[in-house]
Amino acid sequence: MLACLCTVLWHLPAVPALNRTGDPGPGPSIQKTYDLTRYLEHQLRSLAGTYLNYLGPPFNEPDFNPPRLGADTLPRATVNLEVWRSLNDKLRLTQNYEAYSHLLCYLRGLNRQAATAELRHSLAHFCTSLQGLLGSIAGVMATLGYPLPQPLPGTEPTWTPGPAHSDFLQKMDDFWLLKELQTWLWRSAKDFNRLKKKMQPPAAAVTLHLEAHGF
């Protein structure tokens, strides 16, 4: 898993290159990251439907709501509202970055197990998109001058396919992975919307000024 995480992070050596076409500030890239989370959320909705059908009942039943067993290693998106509000930009971005780094690793494991080519293809595309999201977040952090978090020894995800898990429990993990991913995408949309609003005012003022000038 550490290798997985390292691989994910290894692919982000040239984050500042995201802004190689000029430096329009973090605004556009935050907006784009926000749009991407919405896009991924939309993508996941159809992917999850397909995957849960692949897992079969009871996982594909609408009111299936199992306890969160054995998924403790998954990064939790839910957080106390006050805590969430009090997060500073760096911490907010770092939590997002770390969460998706882990989730991506789990997801790739999921992909390896998927039986049908179509599902594998959908998962692969989702993984690519998630990789894109990580890159986007890294880009925003680079723009704002925050360093990327380094994976700490001992905190790496412990997802491993093997005989330790029964098939049902494995499916339960998959279920919770998708569910947590969805929650994270919701949260990220809120995070980036908040960041966007924080970063936008001056840009909006400039736009208004220009428009007024135009008239």
């Binding site: 692919h11 982000l12 050596p13 040239a14 984050v15 290159a17 995201l18 190689r20 076409t21 784009k32 990251t33 749009d35 991407l36 919405r38 896009y39 939309h42 595309h125 690519t128 998109s129 990789q131 894109g132 999201l133 990580l134 890159g135 986007s136 890294a138 880009g139």
Partner: protein
Amino acid sequence: MSVLQTWLVQALFIFLITGSIGVLLDPCGRINPESPVVQLGSNFTAVCVLKERCMDYFHVNANFIVWKMGHFTIPKEQYTIINRTAASVTLTDVTSLNIQLTCNILTFGQIEQNVYGITLISGLPPEKPKNLNCIVNEGKKMMCYWDPGRETYLETNFTLKSEWATEKFADCKTKRDTPTSCTVDYSPVYFVNMEVWVEAANALGKVTSDHINFDPVDKVKPNTPRNLSVSNSEELSSILKLTWINSNIKNVIRLKYDIQYRTKGASTWSQIPPEDTASTRSSFTVQDLKPFTEYVFRIRCMKEDGKGFWSDWSEEASGITYEDRPSNTPSFWYKIDPSHSHGHRSVQLMWKTLPPFEANGKILGYEVTLTRWKSRLQNYTVNDTKLTVNLTNDRYIVTLTARNAVGRSDASVLTIPACDFQATHPVMDLKAFPKDNMLWVEWTTPSKSPNKYILEWCVLSDKSPCIPDWQQEDGTVHHTYIRGYLAESKCYLITVTPVYADGPGSPVSIKAYLKQAPPSKGPTVRTKKVGKNEAVLEWDQLPVDVQNGFIRNYTIFYRTNIGNETAVNVDSSHTEYTLSSLTSDTLYMVRMAAYTDEGGKDGPEFTFTTPKFGEIEAIVVCLLSIPIDNSSGVLFCFNKNRDYSLFITCSSFLFRIKKHIWPNVPDPSKSHIAQWSPHTPPRHNFNPKDQMYSDGNFTDVSVVEIEANDKKSFPEDLKSLELFKKEKVSTEGHSSGIGGSSCMSSSRPSISSSDENESAQNTSSTVQYSTVVHSGYRHQVPSVQVFSRSESTQPLLDSEERPEDLQLVDNVDGGDGILPRQQYFKQNCSQQETSPDISHFERSNQVSSVNEEDFVRLKQQISGIPQSCGSGQMKMFQEVSAADAFGPDTEGQGERFKTAGMEAVLDEGMPKSYLPQTVRQGGYMPQ
């Protein structure tokens, strides 16, 4: 390919060596480089290195090397001997794409032995690919395309490279058949910028395009909106609501739309303002549409910010707006039946169906109301577009409304004035002209401003009556075009009537052509009179059906048998022309062309011969040749005035001379009843040959030629001639000039004989006779269908009172019967007519006879004295022609004189049968 060629060359070499030394050996040498690719236009150097073994065997060294390009030996100047075993060759400015280069040695007395061969490939390095762009068709993989630049003539590979800031994607290699585009192997991730570029590489180099950096979502071409449907609203007839289903991309990006519509059948699309459809939606209400109209819609979408590509157009969907009440009143007009009975009028009300854009629905019927002064309303419901009502002679107000399912139109109001209403205030300066394949009409508004105008038009033709079509124009309009089918080459009579609150104004008419053409027939020219040095030509106006345009002018072409043709232009208003300076006793051929604005058409050729002697000469000859029994005739003959009395006198004189030789025959014309009957079809001489028998040719003074154009059966003519002769014998000795007249009527007992005698007694001698005989009877227009013999003598009296009229009309008629009424129009074709009548077209029929009278008078005014003079001259010429036969050198005078008329005719190209034809038997035919 090149490898294969090289291999073949080497194999050949080995085979040769094997053949020469009998052992399978390596090549005798090698060329370096072995597989060269060079740039077009550059220089290339190859080195051939010989092997020692071969050099020893063949006793050669590098000096013996010969380079060849295909079969062509490269000149020695391009060789360089490097050492004993190696020599190079340099090719400058390589322009061939594929060169076979061989190294050879000269052995054993100049025998060329091939050592080695290579294939030189040339081409160009790739150019930097330009205009790189990518498109993401929704749900599909990304495709990028570029402009590859110039042809390289070499195998050139294009590789599309793409990467994120954090990750490189797999290269996309172009397929051989699509070197200018490549579809990547992965689905693009929206909202993550990527960088894309193209590498072009061949044997001569590698070049990279500019990098483009974009978010794939900005390159999206969305899928087409589906299930477009259209629904209307009963509440609002001007709207249609469109609904559709957006593609899934709407969940990812915001969309804007392009909605176009057109009425069914129209070719151009109208567009909904883009600002109204600039955000994601799945329905739209289109406003400001016409009621009860079918519209066709289509829609496409793209990313809201305009980045990316428009989707394809959706399938078209159509819908019909709901009905609305008719928005305009129908065009409304009326026609009064001319044959009204006392105290009542039959009036046909007529209207036009509303065009769909004004009907605004299905017209279910029309409602007409009639109001007479102080009387109650009469209502009519009509489905047709006309209604005939019987009205008194009072003034009426008529209203018309059109009704559909929603409501009725405003009323169209017409005033039908009382019988004694005097129309006034016509339009002024009426003009009609073709433009853009339409016939435009324009006018100046009358001083009193009208409510509307009615335009009527019809084709003028001799073959069919004028059946007018019509259209209505608003009172503010002063130019418009005829909205009906118009044919080319047809003369249209267009009438514009202003319509005022109190009734129609005076109509004004004009003639026009949509497109003129050359006449379909040329005018038929004939001689009216032929003199020694001149000839008076005459012709009829062309019938309107063959004019095909406004006749602008005529050209007369005449020539002798041997001479050049002379052309004379004559104004279109003329119907005769005098050719002067002719040579006497010469055969002339003449023809005439009539021209419209579009060209001309020749008529048939006519031949005549000028006489040998002038008139005076002829008379002198005649006086010298004939025993004279009346001295007064001699005196007149020497009078040089070419007036009527001279002619009469000479005529009388010659007539008397004739009677010595040729028995007098009664004038058949005076009692020729059958020919005057309106039941007898007018005799048109359509046969071109016959047409040459014009009046002028036959006016031989004597009675025999009067009806020259009336070619009755010959045997009867001959019988009449016999009668004529017999009568002459019986009356000889007591007949004078007037006696000739009485002779004619007394040749056979008749009902009218007493009248004729009376008229003969009342008229004074020869003057009446010759005048009457010439023109009087023929002009008489039959007014009743049955003639009595007594009426047949009326021309004598008439002519006595109005000799000029008769002569004029004789000219006009030209022996072709009564002139068609259209001749009147023809005379005035470029002028406008003003008729005070309400209904111009109806009136035309009623006044036809009046028009003819007008026409006669008009002709009088136009022609006037010259025409009567011409007529006299014509007779004189004929007389001279006859007199010519009395030449002193002629033998057998009596016999000669008998055929004089014939001779005169022959001179003018007439057939021998002319003389008998001229003897009219009509009046003598049993009735």
